[in-house]
Symmetry: D2
Subunit: 337 residues, 4 copies
């Protein structure tokens, strides 16, 4: 941490800043420059609130040099994290495609869709059994019945299963059925949930909150990693901005940014990012071109009658065409699908 | 709901739209204009996703005329909701001030601060026993011990107690000690928590999420109200924008907007909105002038050593001066403190 | 336009709304539904402010059915606009690459860079002679001398020239040297400039303002088109959001959105969108995959000594590698570079 | 400026950073800490782009300690700037109210409104003769005829006149008629206009751009101040965020922030910030309570027929009531109206 002091700071104020730093447990190194005196403070704890120093008299600016996260950073671990589940590796050369309906509606529906996405090359089946809905009056999901259906469909069509967990009380149940547990955007800063997820073995995917900075997103990963777990992946699904034409603004630049500062895999979800079926296709291609380690895509064979998010679901044929396009794009950048 | 059809829509497409509407349970009314045919659909359910219609062939635009929330709307209940607890009324003529430390740190600390804010005219004691922290390494709160301290201090200094509940598993415990339960900004769309809170008697205050529109904020209130409960209040605490000088952007216009479209009381929290002690004072004054039904303010008598958010806490003397100013401002608009 | 009236609106208020509509020049069509009376108003002028109706007594909501722009809309012109300059077509099958330094610094510099980008396959030379700078103390550009250099370099290396015009007084001069005139993001709503640009023959490219909605961006195009000109193209260069890791947030979804609602070509500028050299490469690939009609990329052979924006300029070798990658990606979606 | 180097930076890279700094004209001071070597660089020019250093090998972070603006900063001038025009002082104890119609429509209209706002206590007449309109088809203002009307009305009712200038070519004309020249939000970064305004004697008010940070807003003031002029004031009018209920989000916290870091007066414009008549009143009160040095308010006696922005104009009676309220609020904080 670097603390820049005001020009001509009074000796007692300078001493007060140093005393505070030492009380907070820092080793302090003073450097007197021609214009400003600068203090270096070593040993900053990840949770330290730098405003504690900013309000001291005579302090001009405080800069945290190190990121607030540690285990999630590339400084801590320079090699990419590869998450292996059966024969699938997430974060390796393959761009892994997760596909399926928004909500699990019935066994029939899930089996039909699982079959088609599997034939098109998807490796993981997605589907919601517990649904976070803005409205209390909207369909809230089938619960455990939905989990059972997903598991059966996954087993039949050789697909892994990813699904959302919304509450600590659901973790055990969801972990029994799913291969990957998903934390939704609205729960990205539900710290109790994150901490409990740090205690289970199964991989976790954290969706980025609608107003979450990349740093905060990695801090949420840090919550899970600090429980001793390493198989965490992230998912960009759009952030909220002033532009309302699309449901959210798909922040694809976050993909190369996360790859630079963290070792964790990043998945992209163009379905939630755009909210509009015909925008999903170009943005899925763009995500692969930008370097995403995977895609999460909603597919439905009868979207007009879907119980949630039908308008953003691809039809099976569209999904199949998309798979062909992204296979070729992946190849251009030395990856495969 | 109004559905505007494309100019020259084919008869079969028009019929398809009507069929869908009827299947969704709407009564349909057709009006053929000179340029566009317009369908009126009556009986829209609050959770209906209008994109279900937008994707049908021949549909140009769909407008939901009614708000997506119902119980929270002024259309449903034209009188202001007044929440009475002991001799205090929230949502009436009085502007109710909630004050106290960010976190409960010790009995001594809470008693000292409770005494001073009570003497300055605060009616409700605030303080966190369970703390949502961005970093897993930061102080997470005293838990039930903290709740006990708050209750004792509230009783001694004749203050009501408000504190945050972070998980459904904590609701019973928090409700035993506190007079008002607070839902934090990060939990505004934690729907399980909201639903469970709809089942208890005690009043609930919902902080606005950092990226939540006013409509979504009211939808979260609707979750609680739909459980049969009526004593819900809202709290504006700043939204996330591109401006980073202040911690958040304090959206004071939300106060008159909520008062227009809803009957629920609105509290303002300038401490979290600005994050900077010397900005809290002018913004607290502004909130009262804008019509807030209450203020929530962090006060600490030793902020340099506070375990959280010290930099945004007012000193007791500053708080006392502020109370004098806002008493006069309240009077100007026909209210009192 | 559709005007939804309050339930049980008084007859005199209804009449007042109708009178207003007729005074504003609308033909009015009334439809009495079971719940709401709805008025259809035909002949809305593009500049009409619908709040004029919203404030009338008894009006619940007003919806503008038609877009506020006309000449820029696909409804008005269903075929893609193709801008032909010499042997180059912008908006056709080819993805056209514009490359060059941020600022024109010297003849030597521009010639060196023009040579290398031309050899790598760029078709248009970019470079700023007039520079909009946040700071009055920063390098402001070489002016006409810079234009001369660009023209000479373009002619020598068989490249078209695009450069920014900042003021109406510069239009004639810039039009003498350049093949395409660029309106910068900060000038997107400089309406005098737009109107004057509507009077010249040369094509114009409008960069999206940092806070401009897609609709406002198209309205700026409408300003130029309404002068009788048709050769206008747009350029997405990132919008301002809460995320500060990248300079701006590259809104790639805007590309398919504009292609749907407008017939104008869309270029993408990953250099300004990200502001960071190593993010330019993946985001340029993503833009092509998303369907951009062209790219604008900053290239510098000595970026450490560039007079502006060196940190976001690609090195010539990086640019050459990128060109090879995007040639292949273009092919995947049936285009070429 | 502080440059933090990577742990274990190679000697040649360190030397390269120092060489660059010296080439850029900095005096360099090296401090070797236990963890990081830190360079202090003295003599940073206001326009220096710190990314020039960030991209050098071995550099971890670069912090600009000084603000990028100088003449606008309180460090440069600690006393508040007071702008005296006739008997009015802007930036002193008085909260100065500017009121009038959005657009000048006719002599009659302006005289009627000028009379009423003057009687209610306004000191400055506002009104647009040149109007920046999103749509090319909307009313664009009366031009010089409008300026004449404003001057005559101002003289008759003892009001100063403020009006917008949109182009460098209009400056001389507008300066002949108006007492204060206004730069609109869309022109905040029209640097040619700002530079030319630095050359005239009359005071200038700069509206904050919709996506402008407080720092950029002050940089725009710096453009004018660097021309040798000192009578500049700022105007907060709302920023663009995801919340669309109000036209913009009124960032009232910007008022105390600007007062802390700059010596320039800050005016608040609740009419453009909210866009809705009944929200203007509470937000005008809030602005005074937050410490604004003045208000700019739209008033119209026949808003249904206003040629622009009628829906956000106060009626004369509403304005009069508001004046009474804010007189009392001003008193509470030791100011007067």
């Amino acid at each position: 941490m670097v603390i820049v002091l005001e020009k001509g700071i009074a000796e007692e104020n300078l001493q007060n800043v140093i005393d505070h730093l030492e009380k907070f447990g820092f080793a302090v190194h003073k450097s007197v420059g021609a214009e400003h005196t600068v203090l270096g403070a070593i040993g900053v704890k990840p949770g330290f609130d730098i405003r504690q120093l900013k309000i001291l008299k005579g302090v001009r600016e405080v800069y945290r040099i190190t990121e607030p996260f540690k285990l999630a950073s590339r400084t801590f671990k320079s090699q990419n994290t590869e998450i292996k589940i059966n024969d699938i590796v997430i974060g390796g050369t393959e761009v892994v495609v997760m596909a399926g309906p928004c909500s699990v509606e019935s066994e029939d529906q899930v089996f039909r869709i699982a079959k088609t996405v599997s034939e098109s090359g998807a490796r993981i089946l997605r589907g919601g059994a517990f649904k976070p809905r803005t409205s209390p009056y909207a369909f809230q999901g089938l619960g455990e019945k939905g989990l059972e259906i997903l598991r059966k469909a996954g087993d039949k069509f050789n697909l892994l299963v990813i699904t959302e967990v919304m509450e600590t009380s659901q973790i055990q149940m969801v972990a029994e059925y799913a291969d990957i547990l998903q934390v939704g955007a609205r729960n990205m800063q539900n710290y109790y949930l994150l901490k409990e997820l740090g205690k289970i073995d199964k991989p976790v995917m954290i969706k980025r909150g609608m107003a979450a900075s990349i740093e905060e997103w990695l801090m949420s990963a840090e919550y899970i990693l600090s429980g001793g777990k390493s198989n965490v992946m992230l998912c960009e699904r759009g952030i909220r901005t002033f532009e309302t034409y699309t449901r959210n603004t798909f922040d694809l630049s976050a993909i190369p940014v996360v790859h630079q500062i963290s070792h964790l895999p990043v998945i992209a979800d163009p379905s939630h990012a755009t909210g509009l079926r015909d925008k999903v296709i170009p943005m899925a291609r763009a995500a692969v071109a930008a370097g995403a380690d995977g895609l999460m895509i909603e597919v439905h064979d009868d979207p007009d009658n879907a119980l949630s998010d039908g308008p953003q679901a691809l039809l099976p044929d569209q999904f199949n065409d998309l798979m062909n396009q992204i296979k070729n794009i992946a190849q251009v950048i030395g990856r495969k699908i």
